[in-house]
Amino acid sequence: MTTKISFQQTSCAFLVNGADFLAVDRVDLDIADREVVTVVGPSGCGKSTLLNMAAGLVNPTGGQVYVDGVPVREPGPERGVIFQQYALFPWLTVRSNVEFGLTLQRGVSRAERRRRAQHFIDLVGLTDFADALPKTLSGGMRQRCAIARAYAVNPSILLMDEPFGALDALTRVQMQDQLLRAWSAEQRTIMFITHDVDEAVYLANRVVVMAARPGRIKEIIPVELPYPRTEAHRLSPEFTEIRNRVWHAVYHQALEEDRAT
């Protein structure tokens, strides 16, 4: 199996109040081609920073991130990002938002662009809102629009920062299955941040548990469940066991920290 994304001793420090604050501390992590890796951890532990370094939006202050063996210097359309804050262009309709990335690709005709955008708009269930402005959409609908926009450019890597956080439980489960279906059809590599332990286990080949202060990897828990995953997996004893392990890793640590302070 080839490595798609490789963090090598990757650190990131921010200047906060004149002092260096270590948001990510020497992370080593290899994500294989076509693997789904989910990242969980308490808020503020550096999950978004880690993802942004892979996206090329934040430069590591130590170490390096490699994608296909090449150090990441800047963002690129082969690495799709879904932001925690949706980041829709408020002056564009849903359709124009979804088409945005496609307009930047050479050799995509207008009709083809339309067709592809429509496909992903339908996919996320926004058919009736294709010509609406973001301000008229609910949080969940905005998130779905952001997902369609990222999917539309067909990136080989998807970097997703709590993408389903604003969705209701049912839509969330639908989007998870949708994501896995698209993943197995198009063979993408996915790095997925979530605070939902069930979601982390359901999607992942491996779950990365991070700890805070400084942000680091605490444990990597493999999920030995076969794909395609179904609702039956969620109810299996194996699932429950892994889920409990992850839960423990995240919250045991949180409790420890509470005790320490």
């Binding site: 963002p75 359309p77 980041a87 262009f89 402005l133």
Partner: protein
């Protein structure tokens, strides 16, 4: 008369003043009531004015006398010519000023170097009222159209440039990142994200710019002109011709209001996507 008084220079978006709600677009009960009150206020104002004139305040002409003079000036074509001359100056100055302010404001917002080089001048000239430049402009540029248009351009430019700059600086970083990860380079990000995202600021700046262009215009004409509303009032002053001065004042007010309203409509149209709370 319209129902609301626009707040000059109010920042767009988050703190949209109440006057910019939808009341202006769809007449509901409150806005009809406001319209009624506005009409009453105007009527009372006219009555007080007429009363004062009749009571014999030294030299004050009544509304009818002013209306009469207004009609004369319209019939003779003087008012139209003066208005045309004034509007021409203000439009040229306003257009030049805004056209210059937008790229300069963008440069300042986008490149730290440009900001460092330009900002001291903008801040310095902003503290000088454009009118104070008039003597210098007349000495350097003569008494033709050039100094007037120059001063108006300067006034419009200084008002818009800061606003544009602030708009660029306050563009949400995640929107820029969103464009970049979709494959947009600097140019595309600038054109398709920074420009639209800062357009509410630019439009507010343009409205402020138009306001100061208009204010500066009249003063510039008071000092040196052969035609224009300000010039007409200056002439009237020599002959103690108060009705003409009043006609001039009302013309200036009405034209200023109309121009502001047009820009407000344009602004509303172009920034309809904004979330207003």
């Amino acid at each position: 008369m319209t129902s609301t008084i626009p707040v000059r220079g109010a920042p767009p978006g988050a703190t949209a003043p109440p006057g910019r709600s939808r009341a202006g677009r769809r007449p509901n009960r409150t806005s009809l009531r406001m319209l009624g009150l506005n009409a009453v206020a105007v009527a009372i104002g006219l009555a007080v004015w007429a009363g004062l004139a009749r009571a014999g305040v030294e030299g004050l002409p009544g509304p009818l006398a002013v209306a009469d003079r207004g009609w004369d000036l319209i019939e003779s074509g003087t008012l139209l010519e003066d208005t045309a001359a004034s509007l021409r100056r203000v439009f040229i100055g306003f257009l030049l000023g805004s056209l210059l302010a937008v790229p300069v404001g963008f440069l300042m917002g986008w490149y730290v170097t440009a900001r460092g080089l330009i900002e001291p001048y903008v801040q310095f000239f902003r503290t000088i009222p454009p009118l104070a430049i008039i003597p210098l402009a007349i000495v350097l540029l003569g008494i033709g159209e050039t100094p007037k248009i120059f001063v108006i351009t300067l006034a419009a430019f200084l008002s818009s440039v800061i606003s544009t700059f602030q708009g660029v600086v306050s563009v949400d970083k995640t929107l820029i990142n969103a464009a970049r990860v979709l494959g947009a380079g600097d140019g595309v990000t600038f054109r398709r994200v920074v420009v639209p995202a800062s357009s509410p600021f630019i439009l507010v700046g343009m409205r402020i710019g138009l306001g100061s262009a208009w204010a500066t215009l009249v003063a510039a004409e008071l000092i040196a002109a052969q035609q224009g509303v300000g010039y007409r009032m200056q002439q009237a002053q020599l002959y103690y011709d108060l009705p003409t001065i009043f006609v001039g004042l009302i013309t200036i007010g009405v034209l200023g209001l109309i121009m502001d309203r047009i820009l407000l409509l344009v602004e509303r149209r172009l920034t309809r996507w904004q979330e207003r709370r």
